[in-house]
C-alpha cells in the first residue's frame, strides 16, 4: 500500500517552477530518498506534502489523505524534521516536547512516558530541563527528531536531516533512523544532497531542476551505468584507448592522463585485459559506480555541494528556468 502518492505535482513561485510535474509513490515502511542539489525542488516538495505550501497543479496524498482537502488528517499522520531549527529556544527540551504533545493531542496517560522514552532514545535525558538555547546544533537536531516522533506518525519527513552536522552526529542520526524503521514501522521520506546518505535508502528519486530524472533502488541506478568503472594509466594511453575500442568495443575517455571506461563485471574483465594488453600498464583500478557517477550521467553536471543559503537556491533555480 502506498502511503505517499504524488501525481504530476507542480509548484510555481511566480514564473519560477520549483517543482515541475513530479510523480512518485512511496509504499509503507520504505525509506525513500530525494537526492538532488540545492534548489532542485526537494524542500518545496516536502513543504507541499506537509501542507505548508499549496500545490500549483497536480495532486498529492499522504497516508490516504489529500494534502489540500484534508490538511488536518495529513498533519496528524506525519512527523517532520526541517532543515532549519524550529524549536522554541527559550523553553526547555521537555517544554518543547510537551507543547508538541498538546498540539497533536497525545493522550495525557502516555504523554510523559513517551517524552521520557524519546529523550532516552536521542540521549538527551540528562539535559531535558535545559533551555534549548544552550544546546549544540547536533543536540537540537536530535531533539527535533524526538519531537517529530512524539505523536506516533506514520510517515517521518526529514529535510536534509544531517546538514551542517559533524560526521559523528550524522552517523548517530542515521542509527536512530534505521532503528526507528525497525521498531515503529515508519515510512521515512528524506531529502539529501549527500551521496552516502542516499545509499541508506531503499529507493531514491534523483531530482534536478524540479523534475524527477530517475527513480530506483541505489543498486539498480548504479547498475544502469553499464557495470563497473575501470580507471587505468598506461605508458601509452593512446594505444590503450585504441585497443579498448577495437578489441573490446568499449568507449573509454581520457581525463588528466587517466583512461576511464565502464564495463560489465569489471573484476573478471580486468585480468583478461591485462593478460592480452600489448603495452605496459602503470596503474589500474576498478570500482563500483557511485551515485555521483549516476547523477553526472543523468544530469550532465555534478551535484553541487554548496551552502544552502536561499540566494544560492534562487540562483540555481533561475539558471534552470531562464
Amino acid at each position: 500500500m502506498n502511503v505517499i502518492e504524488v501525481e504530476a505535482l507542480t509548484k510555481a513561485f511566480g514564473r519560477l517552477k520549483a517543482v515541475d510535474g513530479v510523480s512518485f509513490n512511496v509504499p509503507r515502511g520504505e525509506i525513500f530518498g530525494f537526492l538532488g542539489p540545492n534548489g532542485a525542488g526537494k524542500t518545496t516538495t516536502i513543504n507541499v506534502l506537509c501542507t505548508l505550501l499549496r500545490p500549483t497543479g497536480g495532486r498529492a496524498s499522504v497516508n490516504g489523505f489529500d494534502v489540500v482537502k484534508q490538511p488536518r488528517q495529513v498533519q496528524r499522520s506525519i512527523g517532520l524534521v526541517f532543515q532549519d531549527p524550529t524549536l522554541d529556544e527559550y523553553l526547555t527540551a521537555e517544554q518543547n516536547l510537551r507543547f508538541h504533545a498538546y498540539a497533536y493531542h497525545v493522550p495525557g496517560a502516555v504523554r510523559e512516558e513517551r517524552i521520557a522514552g524519546l529523550l532516552e532514545l536521542v540521549e538527551l535525558s540528562d539535559r531535558r530541563k535545559s533551555k534549548v538555547s544552550t544546546y549544540s546544533g547536533g543536540m537540537k537536531r536530535r531533539l527535533e527528531l524526538a519531537r517529530g516522533l512524539l505523536h506516533h506518525p506514520q510517515i517521518l519527513f526529514l529535510d536534509e536531516p544531517t546538514l551542517g552536522l559533524d560526521p559523528q552526529t550524522r552517523r548517530h542520526i542515521w542509527e536512530y533512523v534505521l532503528a526507528l524503521r525497525r521498531e515503529e514501522d515508519l515510512t521515512i521520506f528524506l531529502t539529501t544532497h549527500y551521496m552516502d546518505e542516499a545509499e541508506h535508502c531503499d529507493r531514491i528519486a534523483i531530482i534536478d531542476y524540479g523534475r524527477v530524472v530517475a527513480l530506483d533502488t541505489p543498486d539498480n541506478l548504479k547498475d544502469s551505468m553499464g557495470g563497473d568503472v575501470v580507471t587505468l594509466e598506461a605508458e601509452d594511453n593512446e594505444k590503450a584507448v585504441a585497443e579498448l575500442r577495437e578489441r573490446y568495443n568499449l568507449s573509454p575517455e581520457v581525463n588528466n592522463g587517466l583512461v576511464t571506461f565502464s564495463v560489465p563485471h569489471g573484476d573478471t574483465f580486468l585480468p583478461k585485459f591485462v593478460r592480452n594488453f600489448s603495452n605496459r600498464l602503470i596503474s589500474v583500478s576498478v570500482r563500483r559506480p557511485t551515485l555521483d557517477d549516476v547523477f553526472l550521467k543523468l544530469t550532465g553536471h555534478a551535484i553541487r555541494d554548496q551552502e544552502a543559503d536561499s540566494w544560492a537556491q534562487l540562483r540555481t533555480m533561475m539558471r534552470g528556468h531562464s
Partner: protein, 273 residues
Amino acid sequence: MEAVFRGMWVIAYRDLLRFVQERARLISSFAMPLLFLVIFGAGFSRVIGNLTPGVDFIQFIYPGIIAMSVLMGSLMSGLSVVWDREFGFLREVLVAPLSRTGIVLGKAGGTALIALGQGLVMLVLAPFVGVTISPMMVLKLIPLLIIVSVSLSGLGILIASRMRSQQGFQMLVQIIIMPLVFLSGVFFPVNNVPAWLEVISKINPLTYGVDAIRQVFLGAELPAMVGSAGNPGYAIGVTVFGHTMSVLDDAMVIAALGIVLLTAAVWSFNKQE
C-alpha cells in the same frame, strides 16, 4: 471546532509559559508605563494643576497610562509572531493539526492575558497617585481591559502576519504606537485641541479605550463636567457628534474594532504559505 479550541489554548499556554520565563521582558513591561507615570505625573502636575474640580493631572493621566501599558503589551502579540517566524518555531505551529483561526485567537488570548496582568499590576500604584480604588472598579476594569487588549492584539497579529523581520515590525509599531498613544487622550483631553487634532483623536480607537478606563476610575459623571476654566472645551469626556460616550459605548467601539482586526488577521494568516 475542536481544532480551533485546541489551537487557542496550546498557543496561549506557550506564550504565557514563555512570558514568565523571560525575566527581562517581565521587568521591562512594567518599567515603561511606570516611567511615563513618574515623569509626566511629577513633571506636569505642578504646572497643570486641576483640569476639572477634584481631578488633578496625575489622576487624569493615570488611567491613560494603564491603557497605554495594555496597548504596548498587546502589540507584543505581533512581535512574538514575527519572532517565531524568524526563529522557525512558527513552522512547528503551522504544520501541527491546529486551525489557523485557533492559532490567531490563541495568540490574541495569550497576549491579552499578559496585557491584562500588566494593567492590573499598575493598579497597585493607585494609592500613590491619589486615586481611590474599589473592588467594584477592578471588576469593571477586567472585562474592559480584556476587550481592549484582545482587540489591539488583533492589530499586532495583523501587522505581523506579513512581516519577515523583527526590526521591520518594531519600526512599524513605533510609527503606529506613538501617534496612537499621544492622540488618544492619555496626556490631554481631546476636546480642547485644534480641530484637525480632535478629528484624528476621535478616529483613534485607543481614545475610546482610554476614555472607558478613565470613566471607571473617575466616575461616570465626569464626562459631563465642564472643566476648571468653565469652558465646555475643557470637558474630559469624549464627545462624538454631540453625544458623550459612556463606558458601554466605548467598549462597543473597541469590541467592533477588535472583531474587524481579528477577522482580518485570521484571513491574512490563512492565506499565508
